[in-house]
C-alpha cells in the first residue's frame, strides 16, 4: 500500500505503514501467514482478552499514579500539627469578646451578659433556618461563654461585631459585611444568605478560666 499523490510531500514514495495488515491481525481473522488467531467461533479472541486486561491494568496504574499527586495538595503534616490552641479566659470581662487563631482561622470567644444569654434562649427554635437551641451551643453551666469559629458560613468572610465600635447586626451578635448575614447572640444565622450557624469548634474547659480548642 503505497501512498502517492501528485504534489504531496516528496518523501511519500517510501512504503508506508501497512494498516490493512494490522486491522486483519487485531480482528482475529486469518493472518497473511495463514495462522488462525481465533480462539473459538463466537468472534472473541485471546487478543481481545489481552487487550481488555492490559487496558484495565493501564487505567488502574494511571489512577494509582494520580493519587499521590492529588494527595500532596491536602494539608501537610506540619499544617495538621498546629491543631490545638489554649485560651486563658480570665482577662475577658463580661460583655467583652476576643478573637484567637486556631488552625489559621479566627475563633470568637465571647463572654456574654445575662441579657444576651436570655435573648438567645428566648428565640422560638422553629423560626430558625438552622435549628439549634442555645443550650446545645455552649458548655453546661458555662452559659456565659460562647465559642464559635469566626467565619461566615456563606463564603468565609470574618463577620464584624467583635469590637464595640462595630455593627453587631440586627440580632446583637455579628454581622457579615460581605453579603449581609446577621448572626444572633448565640452565633446563629437569623437573616441573610448564610446557610448555617457559626460553627462551634471542638473545645473543652481545662479549668474555670482555661479552654483548649481543637
Amino acid at each position: 500500500m503505497i501512498y502517492k499523490e501528485k504534489g504531496t510531500n516528496s518523501f511519500s514514495d517510501y512504503p508506508s505503514f501497512n494498516y490493512e495488515y494490522c486491522i486483519k491481525m487485531t480482528a482475529g481473522s486469518k493472518s497473511q501467514d495463514g495462522i488462525s488467531l481465533d480462539h473459538d467461533d463466537d468472534g472473541e479472541t485471546r487478543r481481545d482478552f489481552l487487550f481488555l486486561t492490559a487496558g484495565s491494568f493501564g487505567a488502574v496504574g494511571a489512577g494509582i499514579a494520580v493519587w499521590p499527586l492529588v494527595s500532596s495538595m491536602n494539608p501537610a503534616a506540619d499544617t495538621l500539627a498546629l491543631s490545638t490552641t489554649e485560651v486563658d479566659l480570665s482577662p475577658i470581662a463580661k460583655g467583652q469578646s476576643i478573637t484567637v487563631m486556631w488552625q489559621g482561622k479566627p475563633v470568637f470567644v465571647r463572654h456574654r451578659t445575662e441579657k444576651e444569654v436570655e435573648e438567645a434562649r428566648a428565640v422560638n427554635i422553629a423560626d430558625l433556618s438552622d435549628k439549634q437551641d442555645d443550650v446545645e451551643r455552649v458548655t453546661k453551666d458555662k452559659d456565659e461563654w460562647l465559642i464559635v469559629v469566626g467565619i461566615c458560613t456563606h463564603l468565609g468572610c470574618v463577620p464584624v461585631g467583635q469590637k464595640t465600635s462595630e455593627s453587631k447586626g440586627d440580632f446583637g451578635g455579628w454581622f457579615c459585611p460581605c453579603h449581609g448575614s446577621h448572626y444572633d447572640t448565640s452565633g446563629r444565622i437569623r437573616k441573610g444568605p448564610a446557610p448555617k450557624n457559626l460553627a462551634v469548634p471542638p473545645y473543652e474547659f481545662l479549668s474555670d478560666t482555661l479552654i483548649k480548642i481543637g
Binding site: 510531500n9 463564603l155 448564610a194
Partner: protein, 430 residues
Amino acid sequence: MGSGERIEFDNKVVNWIDERLPLFTLMQKEYGVFPTPRNFNYFWNFGAIAMFMLIAMIVTGIFLAMNYTPHVDMAFDSVERIDRDVNWGWMLRDIHMNGASFFFIAVYVHIFRGMYYGSYKKPRELLWILGVVIFLLMMATAFMGYVLPWGQMSYWGATVITNLFSAIPFVGDSIVTLLWGGFAIDNPTLNRFFALHYLMPFVILAVVFLHVWALHICGSNNPSGIEPKGKQDTLPFHPYYTMKDTFGLLVFLVVFCVFVFYAPDYLGHPDNYKEANSLVTPAHIVPEWYFLPFYAILRAITFDIGIPFTDITIISAKLGGVISMFGSIGLLLILPWLDTHPIRSCRYRPKYKFFLLVFLVVFCMLGYVGSQSADAMFFGLPMTLVGILCTTYYYGFFLVIIPWLNNTEKGRDLPKSIHDAVLQAEREKA
C-alpha cells in the same frame, strides 16, 4: 497535517525546510492567501487583539515571575519591590495588571461580536465552545493571578471564591481543604496558585491553537452572516486583514497605554495595597471589574429552594447562587443549540437584535449591581431586587426569548451574496 499540497518556494533553504516540515506552506495557506470574507468590520479585530494580549501577558508574566516570591511573608513586599526597585519593574507590572483588564475587554467584545452576528451557529459550534472554554480558563487564571500580590482583596477574594466549592453537597468541605492545602487560605494556597497561574496561560495557548484551527476549517463568519460563495466574496488574509488587524490593534494599544502610563491603578482596588490580614475582612469585598456581572448573579440568589410548606431544603441559597453563576456561563456553551434560527446576523433579525441589545444593557447593569454592597439601594429599589431581576432576564433571554424567536421571527430578506450586500451598502451610501 502536512499531507495536503505543498507550495514551492524560491528560496532554497526555505524550500529544504518546507519539504521536511511544511511550516512555510502552512503559514502561507492559513495567513497568506487564506480566503477571508471581504466585508469585515472593526468588530473582527478583537480576535487578533486578544491573541496579542495573551502573548503580552505571557511575556510580562515570565519576567515578573523572576522577581516574585510566592510566600505569605514575602509576596506583598516582593511586588512592592518590583514596583519600586526592579529596573522597569513598575512598567512590567502595570502592563501585566492592566493587560488582564484589556484582555478581558477584547474577549468580551469578541464574544458579543459572536452573539450579534450569530458566529456560534452551524458549522461553528465547536469553534464557539472552544472559545467559551478559553473564557473559563482565563477567569481561573485571572483569579489566581489576583491572589499573588497578597493584598487584602487578594486574600478575601480568594476566600470568597474558594468557599464557593463548599456549597457542593457532601464533599464540599473536603474539596475546599484540598484546594487550600490547609484549614484556611495560607502559604500552601499561595504557592499552588502561583504554580497554576504560571501553567494556565500555556493551557490557554493550546486551546487558542485549537480555536484557530477550528476557525480555519470552516472560515470566518462575517457581518452579513451568509457564507462566501466564491472569489468575489473574499480577500486574501494578507495584506488586507493583516493590515486591518494591525491598525485596530494599534488603536486599542493607545487606549491601553493611557491606562498603563497615566492611570495604572484606576481599574484596581486601593484595599489591595494593604497586606493580607486573615483577621480583618474589608468592609466591601469586590472582585475585579470583569467578574462583577457573574458576582452579581452569585449574590442574586438569597433564598432557599425547597419543598413548599415543609422545612426541607433542596437547594440552599448558597448552592443556588453558585449554580446560577456557573449556569450563566454554561448557557453560553449550549447557545448553538438554543438558537436554531436559520438567519445568523442581527442585521437581518430585528427582534433578536432588540432583545440582544437589552441583554447587553442588563449584563452591564449586573456589573453595576456586583460592584455595590449587598444592602445598597438603586433609585429606591433594594440592590438585591435589581440583581434578581437582571438575573431573571439573563436566564430568560437564553431559555425563553431565544427559543421563542426561533419559531416566531421571520427576519429580513437575506442578500444573495456578500458581494451583493457590499454593493447594496455602497449604493445606499451614495
